[in-house]
Amino acid sequence: MAGIPLGIKDLFATRGVNTTAGSRILKDFKPRYESTVTANLRKAGAGMLGKLNMDEFAMGSSNETSAYGPVISPWRRNDGGNAALAPGGSSGGSSAAVAAGIAPAATGTDTGGSIRQPAAFTGICGIKPTYGRCSRWGIVSFASSLDQAGPMARTVRDCAIMLEAMAGFDPKDSTSLDLSVPKWETGLSSDLKGKRVGIPKEYRIDGVPADIGALWDRGIEWLRDAGAEIVEISLPHTKYALPTYYIIAPAEASSNLARYDGVRYGLREVPDGGNLDAMYAATRAAGFGAEVRRRIMIGTYVLSAGFYDAYFTKAQKVRTLIKQDFEKAFEQCDLILTPTAPSAAFGLGDKTADPLSMYLNDVFAVPASLAGLPAMSVPGGLDEQGLPLGLHLIGRELDEQGVLNAGLAIEERAGFTAKPARWW
């Protein structure tokens, strides 16, 4: 990676360089430490081009929750209009920068689709590795049991190279996997002979545009063409994945974000004559945006005495069922192919009034996050509005190679060369 200038999502602590997590509460916060992942990238020779905007604390699917304003996607619809589109989120700065050719690649993080959905929205590649492959040390926590870093780049090969540099065991992160990093780049092969690819019937949901179904079918044909056998599989608990995610992730976030209290660093608001509690309330009210406050409240609620079992314990059980769905499915297949997102990029402001419609963006991405599995989005084509659509590959635990190889097979066959017209 010598000399490659990378964009770095502002969730990664970078020594001496502002690290805000897209939040007002960390405005001007300069860590005196460097995240393990960015340190690994620097060790591999890469440089940092700059820090990239993101949804506040990685909570969002459109990069509109950032305290520093939204990111506008470099893509425009082909209707001649100038509607500003969302680059996806939460790694929206990363997806936009790579799609616009500002940076050859960027780091992202993915808690419930935050690498894959923005990659799909902007016509680039992005992979979330198996949970534990990349150290979380020095990445501002959102939901600890789900957060994973990964690369966002123009090609599958670039993703393989960059992931190799990012991953590795870190004794400073107890959830880091003590395994050597495979040579993913040299292992790349688009020959899928002997591989079985599962198509989960539960992912055919109502309300998804025809373009997306059509692309999925093309993806199936491409993988068959690459030598894979296609099998239908069932992931019966898929419909519970999103509600489960929206209990577990906010629960962990409500606790992880408690440290932003105005006492030691970051924003501090002290109302006249106010006591400690008043300082907490004022600091957090001024420092957190609406979506972050919403998730802290949801998380606090589901962990509260009297509601814990009904929500948090139940969600943990369903999470196990979802993992078991995948384990059973992988008895019949080696990889799973789905669309990445249920729509192409939407306009800024289109979904901000309705959090549930925003959350639905990650309906296909979230199950792999809950199961900790490696998953990748690869561009497959444009929809009828001229906007990119992504195909989503989910692999077995630790089988990033299988995911990358299938991604390469799609990339070779999709011939996706579209770029946004330069308007900026």
């Binding site: 990664f12 602590a13 690290t19 997590a21 960390l26 916060f29 860590p31 005196r32 430490y33 995240s35 979380r136 040390w137 020095g138 990445i139 501002v140 926590s141 939901a143 600890s144 049991s145 004794p171 400073k172 992160d173 107890s174 959830t175 629960a251 962990e252 409500s254 606790s255 974000l257 408690a258 440290r259 932003y260 209290d261 006492v263 030691r264 660093y265 400690l276 509690d277 907490y280 606090t300 962990l303 509260s304 005495a305 814990y308 948090f312």
Partner: protein, 441 residues
């Protein structure tokens, strides 16, 4: 100050292997169940001394399960034993410290203690009086110090007690309890119990009821007051810490913990008694790990156990008390003590001279043999010299000799004393006795 303990953004905790090891060894010393699988939970609440906004603790699956501690209700009565049950030991993070006296309008937070691992040892409601609680705490502290998992220093806060007290009529159900937090001496713990029990009894006798609440101890007044009631209790929103994996202990780890345990107070006391040491001396010598280690070192250099025990308890402790020194600061080393005791045992010096020699040792740091040699303190069994002094004394005290001979046997001691004095204490007392009897009887 660690970045993790200050809860900087993106910082992650890892379990401290040595702390887990010490907690497991402590559990073993309390004969407790060691849980091969345990887990960390977050206890969430906001306070300025808690940087993360949560404390990493173990609510649902603690590291150590049930155990027990045997206490002596009467130090001098071996049969007065009582077992106090241990419910669990869990490990958790300590908080920082707020300082309100450093600035006219601001409070400061000292994070040096934040994140330090601590063990919470939860006992069963088995203690029935302030004295029993005191005995339990002292015993527990002794065990912790033997194990080396805690120095037990309550004044410095390295051991603190949360004291739960309830009262009941004889034979009745346990009453509603109050918890008094962070009490930092054995004496204060006993005061809290005394005060709380009286307060609760008075409440009940006036027809009131005891509120389940958290209380604070005021050491200046010796009283407790409400900190927060049950209604104000935090909802801590405990949940498994997603930053830490469950802790699984393997056999090798457990085995190392077990094999590195030292001989514990009860076992040591029994061993000492087996050597002929009196139960009282054995109990005194094993109460503090420093004393026991020191005494073991004396035994190792070959001292006779009962003689050594008597000497340490009677002579050395007295001397150290006068010097206000603990045994770990004793100017006399176990080796030197062994040498001194050896000189008494082989008849080189008398017990009386040994006292003098000890004083000189404490003053000068010289060895016992050297002192005896250079100061000519060697005991003499030279019957010629002794006889000569006896003859002089008997001649000078003819009246007393007459009284003795007419039946006043108690005067024998007077003649012994006079002879020893004349011999400057260096005469072998046995020889003096023999010679006196030969001449008088």
């Amino acid at each position: 100050m660690s970045l993790i303990d200050a809860a900087m953004p993106g910082m992650l905790p890892v379990p401290n292997r040595e702390c887990i090891r010490q907690a497991v060894r402590t559990g073993m010393a309390l004969e407790a169940v060691i849980n091969r699988w345990s887990r960390f939970d977050r206890k969430n609440y906001f306070y300025a001394d808690l940087p993360q906004g949560y404390q990493i603790s173990q609510l649902f699956h603690p590291l150590v399960g049930e155990g027990e501690v045997e206490i002596l209700l009467d130090e001098k009565d071996e049969s007065s034993t009582k077992r106090v049950g241990i419910e669990r030991i869990h490990v958790e993070q300590d908080a920082g410290k707020l300082m309100h006296d450093q600035h006219p309008t601001m409070s400061y937070v000292d994070l040096n203690r934040a994140g330090v691992a601590l063990m919470e040892i939860v006992s069963r409601p088995d203690m029935r009086s302030p004295a029993e609680a005191g005995a339990y705490l002292r015993k527990l502290r002794a065990i912790l110090r033997y194990v080396g998992s805690c120095d037990g220093n309550m004044e410095e806060g390295s051991m603190r007690a949360d004291v739960n007290v309830s009262v009941r009529r004889p034979g009745g159900e346990l009453g509603t309890r109050t918890e008094t937090k962070n009490v930092n001496s054995v004496r204060f713990v006993m005061q809290v119990i005394e005060y709380e029990a009286r307060r609760q009894v008075e409440l009940l006798e006036e027809g009131g009821s005891v509120a389940q609440e958290t209380r604070l101890f005021d050491p200046d007044r010796g009283t407790t007051r409400t900190l927060r009631s049950k209604e104000d209790a935090h909802d801590y929103r405990y949940f498994p810490d997603p930053d830490l994996l469950p802790l699984e202990l393997d056999e090798a780890f457990i085995e190392e913990c077990r094999s590195s345990l030292p001989e514990l107070p009860d076992a040591k006391r029994k061993r000492y008694e087996g050597l002929g040491i009196t139960p009282y001396n054995a109990s005194v010598l094993t109460a503090e790990v420093e004393t026991a280690r020191w005494f073991d070192a004396v035994l190792e250099v070959g001292a006779q156990p009962t003689q050594a025990a008597n000497w340490v308890v009677a002579e050395l402790f007295g001397a150290l008390n006068r010097l206000s020194k603990g045994i770990e600061e004793s100017p006399v080393s176990p080796n030197q003590a062994g040498e001194l005791l050896g000189l008494v045992a082989d008849g080189t010096i008398s017990g009386t001279i040994a006292k003098q020699v000890l004083e000189i040792m404490l003053e000068t740091g010289q060895g016992a043999a050297e002192i005896v040699e250079t100061r000519g303190l060697k005991q003499t069994s030279d019957t010629g010299a002794i006889d000569a002094e006896i003859d002089k004394i008997l001649a000078a005290n003819a009246d007393k000799v007459a009284e003795y001979k007419s039946g006043k046997q108690q005067l024998f001691g007077f003649f012994v004393g006079q002879t020893m004095k004349a011999m400057q204490g260096k005469a072998n007392p046995q020889v003096v006795n023999e010679r006196l009897r030969a001449k008088l009887d």
